[in-house]
Symmetry: C2
Subunit: 975 residues, 2 copies
């Protein structure tokens, strides 16, 4: 095993072994210990773009410049070893670090080592927890940690979560943070009533069980609800921009205020202390973008500490950090209560439910999802083909852009319009980089010998609006379909084309079935769409190789049109394949009935809209619906009583095109070979506002089930959360909304109805048998939580149009687990299409290139997924495997499963592997988390089970829902 | 002479000899040198009090905290030896310095020595130039310099004036600054049209002749009018609170702006350079209270310098200071134009003449004048009686309070109301200190042996409203009259008493003539006056000892009332003494005729008011009259057509009490023994605003002279300025207003009419023979120059009432010089009264105490005044003598005059004396000012004439208007 360790030594700079980098035992027995924690909450974009925040430009929007914060804070820390600061957002820290000279870097390293500068949270951003996918969250932490680890070694590994601003908190995030090795989590926002109750009961500190059914103790996380959001006590914000009263300690001054100020603080500290269990309290001394002039803060904090301590022997104020606080509280040997659900939704008052942002900016949310999809493809291909500097390819821009999108004011849609555009621009630059990398990778893979003509591949990022230059303009072109999943999947390829007749051949040159479907009429007049394509060519890419690709050859034909036969409504239209039959009501044009496995279900699907409440926001009851807040003015209104319908049927797919109104239409698709799978592709917008009213549009499915108020939503795309509709809320609609990242479910007896959206959306079940997802929203008034703009997105001079996809599955509950996970995975990591024109014939092409390939020696078991594969440091790779099933989902699939890493990959052998914590910044064997006594049992797993070593074949056993992370060294297989 | 030098060595820390503390030759030939001068303009009170500014409290009013500025600037300077900063206001610097530890002090000393921290201006405050008295100005500089010199030695001596914000500039200030050894003066505010012209002509740099008729070259000062006020080029204010665009120099950033920003700056620099003579320009990089976060400024200035220099070989940007700039410009060997008048008034646009502040807050201005008066008394007594720490007396609070009052937003009346109250509070504390010191001093002086009963002296600071507890409540009391002038003067003492019959005895117990005068009726209902006194006892203190005192004994009598006989109008009333006869018009009740020396003059005096203009201030033509701006809505209206009159006549004084309206009244007094001296004591307020209109009240004298538009006003109480009424102004009234500190004159042939106010006031002669002084103003709208409050002073729940005194002299021009100077001096340094109750009889008192005493061996010649006598360092004293007359005033008095210091004082001999510059911070022999070639002749005096040494008797020769400053050592005379 020496080899392994030696090979990996380069990975973590600094000490091997659990490092004790900083000492912080400043607390005392028998007094109230007040942990003074200087911090600044620096949004990686919100009202300003990330660069505007970094440099401090456009101060007219918000006076905030992160460069000044880091400059002045570091200067203060260097001048006084007693002072401390917590640095959270690595995106900003890294930007600053790169500007520093060697001398400064050396000094900052010492500040980190001695604990003065505590790196906390440490993700690239402080990610949102509602609408993010766990894969992107893990990635954004990993990338933040990576930069810190490269810079500071083991002392740079954050030890606690600091999610002070996200608008509610998911259980999955707690689970991930625990698995990253964090000792605790701090946050500020939760249901106002819950907070009141917790403060009253002294349960604002608890042990949160992040995966009570599956992972048990390793996913438990000590969680602290901050007393005053993340702000200082009222009147004690000493930031230059706060304007609270500084200490005036000249005794000659007419304004001398030390005695009064000390009393105010002590009173507050004692009040706060009454709500917590130990003789420690934490005072968050900072707010958004504080410490641009760190001296102003610290100078007054110095005085605060000096004067309070001098006058109050029963108090002990000192500069501290959240980690030090955790140590102090942990040492108190208290037994803690537990929590096993999550902190959604988040109402900040009776009328302000932060459930609007689950849907806000639907197209940005889609772009974010697509970004994660492409980043994974890009990283996988980069790793599998050993791209490196010599290939001029890099992953940094895309890693950073996707990570940045996870920020709690990015993917949430709660940023200003110009900032949303900046995120999109950055992501688009990331796409450019990944286009380059993937093209280089597939060129390597396709190449058999170097004399072959070079193929010029491109990704078509506008396939979502049925637009692609190569497919529209080429008579012959190749479609490369890369499958990022570690299992074989089949996938229906849809490509916009300008002609009406094409022939499609597979990787060996054999013709495959293809069909032509006209685009729905609203797509032809979509603002911003510039395409000659009036139809899409559809064919099935069957059994795609796991973590690999196959190619298809498409040739334009001069012959007769392949356009499918159209049926127009209103008649009783029916879509049907061997698994499912779907009927449409002849009057309304809506879905009316589904027959699955011979069982008939009455089902209805239509579009509704809520009018957004409008108020002056002065009081809670006058809250407007806005970017954060969903607050309908009343019940939903149906968009149209009747949809115009037309259907197209062919050998691959049967489509029903519904037009509800000029701004709402939908295509219902039933593919020939897809079991229990109905695809609803909605097109919504521009949402009309001529009546002066903002509107929030939902797609509502209703099935004749009694569901007892129960429905299910995923937590960040991983474990499911049971939701129970709450009655008697002041906001009965908004208050029952929950975030859906990848799945929302209803169940009745053995039956299950599931909807898998292609991006995060808000969802609810407001009445039994109903499941609604909010797909788009356009509002005319700000909700006064800071963004200062109405969420009124426009594009091309009109209200924004959004197009998206709901996969609907209806079936028996026993299918649930596997089907759901596959649908989720398939939806998140969709096969990625690359297109290249060619002059070769189909046969020539199949002979000339390597037209099919898998990166794996074999598909992974159906309950295992390759979560991460990416180039790491030097020639090592980062690998994550995950168990996909819950402990009680399935007799077979829920069992632990073992995978051997050694020969996992088709192209190379694993020669060394060492397990790390989830964030890939600490050897798992070094992780010793704090122990917390709890007042209830967990499921018994303990961390030792998980930290087990590897045998010589690198066999890895995964328990249900477990993710294991490895840094591996590989050697190319001898050919 | 060794003794002298040795004795004085302790006075200046640091190097003897002209020190070359800092090197700053960064400019280059053949390129445009851009001197980047970081600075912060820190008002010693304005919208906030001085402590609120220092500590940065009440940021809601203005975000400004000087402690943060000094903290962060010093930190920046310490980190980079290329950076520089100029520190101006010593009041703030000293407050900061006192908080620093030894290590920091040591570092800051190095910054001063190496020129990084340039001390500029260096007064306690940046004094106003219009309404200050030169004595107070000299004192405030001296006190600022003293603190700097104590701290930094010779490198701490400022070398240039930095009057960037005062609202116009007096020639006297230039003269004083030259005499302080300054090499130049920089300012920002002057007549907008003059500035345009000077920029056009490249005469924004000139040699200002501060005393062309008297002092000549030693009073010449190179003067630089700043290009853009004292601000950075538009868009280049990098203060955290400015919000201008920072340099965004990451090439990857969507906001990268270096090329554009460099071009903007270079364009501006070249534009600026076109208006100046040499290849140097100065860029003032700062504004009000900038650099609270010095890092933000310097970080961007670093980038500015780096990128501009890198891209523009024809430019040379570097951190510099005004002194370095002066060196660069001086080395260019250019011949400069001269200026020999002043920069008043200051219109910032066609309708905004800053002439209102000449009068704003008349009672605060009076308190300031009284403060200077008492400070001089206090310092003199302190020095003369060798008070020291053992007497528990100190001068610091009063020195600082009076100095602070000279600030250009203090005495000017342009501060917010609560700030005015703070100044008054501080001054009042200074008074308390001086009460203590003067009481200790006179107790020492009066004491013959220690068994005497102690007298409990008090000053009555409310004599100005005829209120004094001791005199009102005591049956027997002593009045000590201290004369701070170095000549003998007679003075009429007026003291409020509750009874109607008193006997007054002099220092030897001989009864003196006394008279009782009823208070005018409006005084009896004066808001805030709490006094049982309904009359004043008046007697003459004849031939007071120079720089000494005499006492009077007052005893209440039971006998008949001494109240004078009253004549009521309307009749032709006449006041008459042996010099003058004053008649009152029987219809109007106004003055109508004065007969002096047999010559009859028709004269009229009455009160008028202007309505203040009201506008929205958006455009110049909509400017409101306000604290700064005088802008009448039209011609003045007479307060009343008729005054009710009553007169009281007695052996000492004849009084005419006029009541013009419920809010304007006046007492006209003619004292029996005063030649050519009429006293007008006006009482104005509460100015009525019930009509919604602000009003500005003037006292107007009209005499039937043709004056050709010429009138005269003093420059800070010293030399007179000739004013010529300007016609065709956009603001014909306000634009002809000038500041009067101590005297305004009209002349016709050999006749002279002079008014000496008891505080600074605005004045004009709008028509020939007229002289008006504005005595009070109350306005309802802000003039939008920052103070953000209307000048609507109230007290005791009503509009403020002001009471004041105009001494009027009418006589032949030949009397002018001596009379004027005496009247000025007597008005500024009035005898100070101290009161003490006693149980002794008059005779007993005269025998028991030393009832009369002079600090001088003999009175000084009539053309010499002792300007300063105060305790200095150790046992040394600071002494200033001044020649009082102009070069051409009088055949005798205008001659040079010699005074021997050796035996000047009655109590001690001068054992050592060394001459210093005016500010007492540099040996005069060390002062080598830069030489500037001018395009016109001066009067030929050169500095060598003035820097002549002293002979063994310390004989000092003074030329007309010369002030000479000495540090002297003294030994008590052997008795």
């Amino acid at each position: 095993m020496w080899l392994v360790i030696a090979a990996c030594l380069a990975v973590f700079q600094g000490t091997i072994g659990d490092p004790s980098c900083a000492s912080c035992k400043n607390w005392k027995d028998g007094v109230l210990n007040v942990h003074i924690v200087p911090h600044s909450h620096d949004d990686v974009g919100w009202l300003k773009t990330v660069d505007q925040y970094y440099y401090g430009s456009r101060q007219g929007i918000q006076n905030a410049g992160v460069q000044y914060i880091l400059d002045t804070v570091v200067s203060q820390l260097l001048h006084d070893p007693a002072k401390r600061f917590v640095q959270v957002e690595t995106a900003f820290f890294w930007q600053w670090w790169q500007e520093q000279n060697d001398h400064m870097r050396h000094q900052v390293k010492q500040l980190v080592s001695n604990g003065q500068l505590e790196l906390l949270g440490g993700g690239w951003v402080m990610n949102d927890e509602a609408v993010t996918h766990y894969q992107a969250t893990v990635d954004q932490f990993t990338w933040g940690f990576r930069r810190l680890n490269d810079t500071f070694g083991s002392c740079g590994a954050p030890r606690a979560g600091w999610q002070i601003d996200p608008f509610g908190h998911s259980r999955e995030t707690a689970s991930l943070m625990a698995t990253m090795g964090f000792d605790g989590l701090f946050f500020g926002r939760l249901d106002y009533a819950d907070k009141t109750q917790r403060l009253k009961n002294k349960t604002a500190e608890m042990v949160w069980q992040g995966s009570p059914q599956n992972l048990g103790k390793p996913a438990e996380l000590f969680t602290h609800v901050l007393f005053n959001h993340y702000s200082p006590p009222p009147g004690f914000c000493f930031d230059l921009l706060c304007g609270d009263e500084p200490f005036i300690d000249s005794k000659h001054s007419p304004d001398y205020n030390v005695d009064r100020r000390v009393k105010e603080f002590v009173d507050y500290a004692k009040k706060q202390s009454a709500h917590y269990t130990t003789n420690n309290i934490i005072m968050t001394m900072g707010q958004d973008f504080n410490y641009q002039d760190a001296n102003a803060w610290y100078k007054n904090l110095d005085k605060l500490i000096k004067y309070v301590n001098a006058k109050n022997p029963d108090l002990n104020l000192f500069y501290s950090t959240p980690t030090c606080y955790l140590q102090a509280v942990n040492s108190a040997n208290v037994t803690w209560t537990t929590k096993d659900d999550d902190f959604f939704p988040y109402p900040s008052d009776q009328h302000s439910y932060w459930t609007g942002y689950f849907t806000s900016r639907p197209t940005l949310k889609f772009f974010a999802a697509q970004g994660n999809n492409f980043l994974q493809v890009c990283k996988q291909l980069y790793a599998l083909t050993e791209l490196g500097p010599e290939d001029w390819a890099d992953l940094t821009a895309m890693r950073e852009a996707v990570a940045m999108m996870q920020h709690h004011d990015a993917i949430t849609g709660t940023e200003q319009q110009h900032v949303a555009q900046d995120y999109a621009l950055r992501l688009s630059r990331g796409f450019d980089e990944c286009h380059f990398a993937t093209e280089a990778a597939v060129t390597k893979l396709l190449t058999i010998n170097s004399t072959q003509p070079t193929l010029d591949f491109e990704s078509c990022t506008q396939l979502n609006i049925s637009q692609c230059a190569t497919t529209e303009s080429s008579d012959r072109f190749v479609v490369l379909v890369f499958n990022p999943l570690s299992r074989s999947v089949s996938h229906h390829v849809r490509i916009p084309v300008a002609s009406s007749s094409y022939k499609v051949s597979d990787a060996v040159g054999v013709e495959v079935k293809a069909q032509m479907v006209p685009l729905p009429e609203p797509m032809l007049r979509l603002p911003g769409r510039v395409s000659p394509a009036k139809q899409e060519l559809v064919f099935m890419a069957e059994k795609l190789p796991p973590l690999g690709y196959t190619t298809f050859y498409v040739q334009k034909l001069a012959g007769k049109s392949m356009l499918a036969y159209a049926e127009k409504g209103p008649e009783r239209l029916t879509l049907k394949n061997k698994f499912m039959e779907v009927s449409v009501n002849e009057i309304t044009g809506e879905l009316s009935e589904i027959v699955v496995d011979g069982a008939q279900q009455t089902i209805d699907q239509s579009f509704y809209y809520y009018e957004g409440a409008v108020g002056d926001n002065e009081e809670a009851k006058n809250r407007s619906s806005g970017a954060y807040i969903f607050r309908p003015a009343g019940d939903a209104t149906k968009v149209a009583k009747q949809a115009k319908t037309i259907s197209y049927k062919g050998p691959i797919v049967q489509e029903l095109q519904q037009t509800f109104s000029p701004w709402v239409s939908q295509v219902v698709r039933l593919y020939e070979d897809d079991p229990h799978h109905l695809e609803l592709e909605w097109l919504v917008g521009p949402i009309p506002i001529e009546d002066g009213k903002g509107k929030e549009v939902v797609s509502r499915l209703a099935i004749d089930w009694r569901t007892d108020g129960i429905f299910y939503t995923d937590s960040n795309g991983r474990e499911m959360m049971t939701r129970k509709r709450r009655e008697n809320l002041t906001e009965p609609i908004a208050g029952n909304y929950y975030p859906v990242t990848t799945a929302a479910l209803l169940a009745s007896g053995e039956q299950m109805l599931a909807v898998f959206p292609d991006r995060a959306q808000g969802a609810s079940s407001l009445r039994d048998g109903e499941l609604e997802l909010m797909v788009h929203r356009r509002l005319l008034k700000d909700d006064a939580f800071g963004v200062s703009e109405a969420l009124n997105e426009t594009a091309f001079g009109e209200g924004l149009v959004a197009r998206g996809r709901h996969i609907v599955k209806l079936g028996s509950k026993s299918l649930k687990a596997e089907q759901r996970r596959l649908a989720q995975q398939h939806n998140v990591l969709r096969p990625w299409l690359l297109f290249a024109p060619t002059d070769l014939t189909a046969k020539q092409f199949a002979k000339t290139y390597k037209t099919s390939w898998s990166g794996l020696s074999a598909a992974l078991p159906p309950n295992v997924n390759l979560l991460t594969l990416e180039p790491w440091k030097g020639r090592s790779l980062l690998l994550r495997l995950e168990h996909l099933q819950n402990r009680d989902d399935d007799e077979v699939l829920s069992k632990p499963v073992t995978v051997s890493l050694k020969s996992l990959f088709s192209g190379f052998d694993v020669t060394a592997a060492r397990e790390t914590s989830l964030g890939a910044n600490r050897w798992l064997s070094d992780v010793k988390r704090m122990e917390w006594e709890i007042d209830s049992n967990d499921i018994g797993l303990d961390s030792n089970t998980l930290a087990g070593g590897l045998d010589d074949d690198f066999n890895v056993t995964l328990t249900p829902m477990q993710i294991r992370t490895f840094i591996i060294d590989v050697t190319a297989k001898k050919v």
